[in-house]
C-alpha cells in the first residue's frame, strides 16, 4: 500500500498525491513528513504541478511519443503561468519538469529576439526603471 502525500498550497488548498508521483520531487523525497506546505505557490499552480507528476508517475516510458506531446502542451502556457510553474518546480526540485520549463523559456526568448532586430524593450515584462535605463543606452 503506497503512501499518500498531502501538499498544501499557500492559499490553503490541499492536494493528495500518490507516493510514486510525489517522489518525483526531491524536496518531498527528503522530507520527513508526508504533509508538506509549499510556500508562495498558489493552488492553481500547485495543481498543475501535481497533474504533471501524476502523468509522469503513471507512464513508464518517458520517451513515449504521446507523453512528449502531452508535455509540449503542458508547457504551452502564457509567460505569467510559466514563470510561476518553474519557480514551483524549482522549489520542489522536480528536475525533469524544471528542465522542460527552462527549455520552453529558452525557446520563447530565442523566438522573440529573432523577430525583432532592433529592440526597444526586452521581451519580458520589465520594470519601468529598467526600461528607461535601456532606452538611454540606445536599446
Amino acid at each position: 500500500m503506497s503512501r499518500v502525500f498531502k501538499l498544501k498550497s499557500s492559499d490553503n488548498e490541499t492536494f493528495e498525491v500518490e507516493e510514486a508521483a510525489a517522489l518525483l520531487s526531491e524536496t518531498i523525497k527528503s522530507s520527513s513528513s508526508t504533509e508538506i506546505t509549499v510556500p508562495n505557490v498558489k493552488a492553481e499552480i500547485l495543481g498543475k504541478v501535481v497533474e504533471w507528476c501524476n502523468k509522469h508517475a503513471e507512464s513508464e516510458d518517458t520517451k513515449d511519443q504521446l507523453i512528449k506531446e502531452w508535455d509540449a502542451e503542458f508547457v504551452s502556457v502564457d509567460q505569467h503561468v510559466l514563470f510561476k510553474l518553474i519557480t514551483a518546480a524549482d522549489y520542489l526540485q522536480i528536475k525533469e519538469l524544471v528542465d522542460q520549463l527552462t527549455q520552453r523559456v529558452g525557446d520563447m526568448i530565442k523566438a522573440k529576439t529573432l523577430k525583432t532586430v532592433e529592440m526597444t524593450y526586452p521581451t519580458f515584462n520589465v520594470e519601468r526603471e529598467v526600461q528607461e535605463e535601456l532606452k538611454s543606452l540606445g536599446f
Binding site: H80, T113, L114, E129
Partner: protein
Amino acid sequence: MANSIPEVSKRRRLSQNDNDNHNHNQLQQQPLLPGLPDHIAQACLSLVDPTTLYSVCRSWRRVIYTRSFPPFLSLYALLSCSSSNSIQFYNFDPVSSKWGALPSMPPDPPLRLFLRHPAFISRNLPIQSVSASGNLILLAATTHNFSPALPRPLNFDLSTSSWHFGPPLATPRRWCAAGTLRGAVYVASGIGSHFSVNVARSVERWDLSKKNNSTSPNGSEYLGWEWEWERVSSLRDGRFSRDAIDAVGWRGKLCMVNVKGDALKDGVVYDAEKDTWQDMPEGMIAGWTGPVAAMDEDVMYVVDEAKGALRRYDPGRDAWHQILESESLKGADQIAAGGGRVCAVCRGRIVVVDVAAPRPRVWDVETPSGLEAVAIHILPRMCQLV
C-alpha cells in the same frame, strides 16, 4: 616589450568601469528575467546563444561572461608590432567583435625574443606557442644571439586570467616540433644554442592535468613544481630539427613533419598509448603541404600554402578531400581549428573559414591597427570578473 594597450580596448574598459560603478547597485537589484529568481533565469538564458543575448540588454550581456554560462569559443592571437620585436597575446571576442589585450607577461625575467633579426631579412624567427587545457602557452623562441629565449614555458591560464611559469625544460630549445595531445604538451627535437644529436632526437611531455589545484587564496603565481617534463620515446634520428613545426594531436596520436610548407618532407606519428613512433601514412604526408590542425583532435585540416586550398583528411582513404580554395588563404603559416571554424594566419592576416556551414565561407578578421598576427589559437572565452 611594448605594452601599450590599443585605443579601442582601453576606451572600452574605462567607460565600462564608470558605468559599472554607477549602476552596479541598480543592476544587482534588477532581476535577469522579472518574475523568476536569478538562478532559474540563468539556466534559461544558458540555452540561448551568446550572440543573441549580447544584443538584448546589459544584464544579459554580462551573463554570457560569467562562470555559470556555457563558455563560447574565442580567438586568441599572438600579435606583433609590424616594425619591432615586441609581441603580445590578444583576445578577439567573436560575440562582441572586439579585440582586447591579455594582461602583460610577467616582466621578470625579461623576455628578450626576436621575431625579426637583421641577419634574416625575409624570414621571421619562429615563436612557438600551443594551447592546452584552457591554457595558452609560449614555448620556444630565439634571442638576439641565437640562443633559446624560454628556459621555462610561459603559460596563461584562462580560468584565472593570469600568467605562470611552466616547469623548466631539461634542454630549452629555440625551435622544435611542438604540439598538444589530450591535455599534454609535447616538445620534440629542435635545437638548443647549438645542434646536438641527443636533443634532436629527444621528446619531452608536460601533462597539464597532473597539477595539484591548490593555489594560494589571492591567486598568486603557481610554483609550478608539481608540473614536470618527462621524457618519452625518442625519435629514430635527428631529421626533425630543421624547422619549427606544429605537431598535431589527432585521435590519440601526435603527428608531425620535419619541413614546413610544400617541400619534400618526412613525417612521423607518435602513439601516446604505446609510446612508439611510426612513419606517417603516405597519403597523409603527401597532402601535408601547409599548416595542419585537428578540430577536437578528431578531424584534421590542412591549408595548402601555395594554392590557398583548405582540405580535410579522410583516414579511411588516407587522402585529403578539398573543401575550398581561396586567394586569402595563400601563404598560410599556421592554423587552428575549433567550434566549426578553421582560422589561419596568412602573411600577418587572420582568415577564418566556417567549415560547419553547408556552404563553407571565408572571411578576414582585421587585426588592431599596426599589429599583425604571428599565431592564433581557439579556446574558451575568459570570464569577465565584475
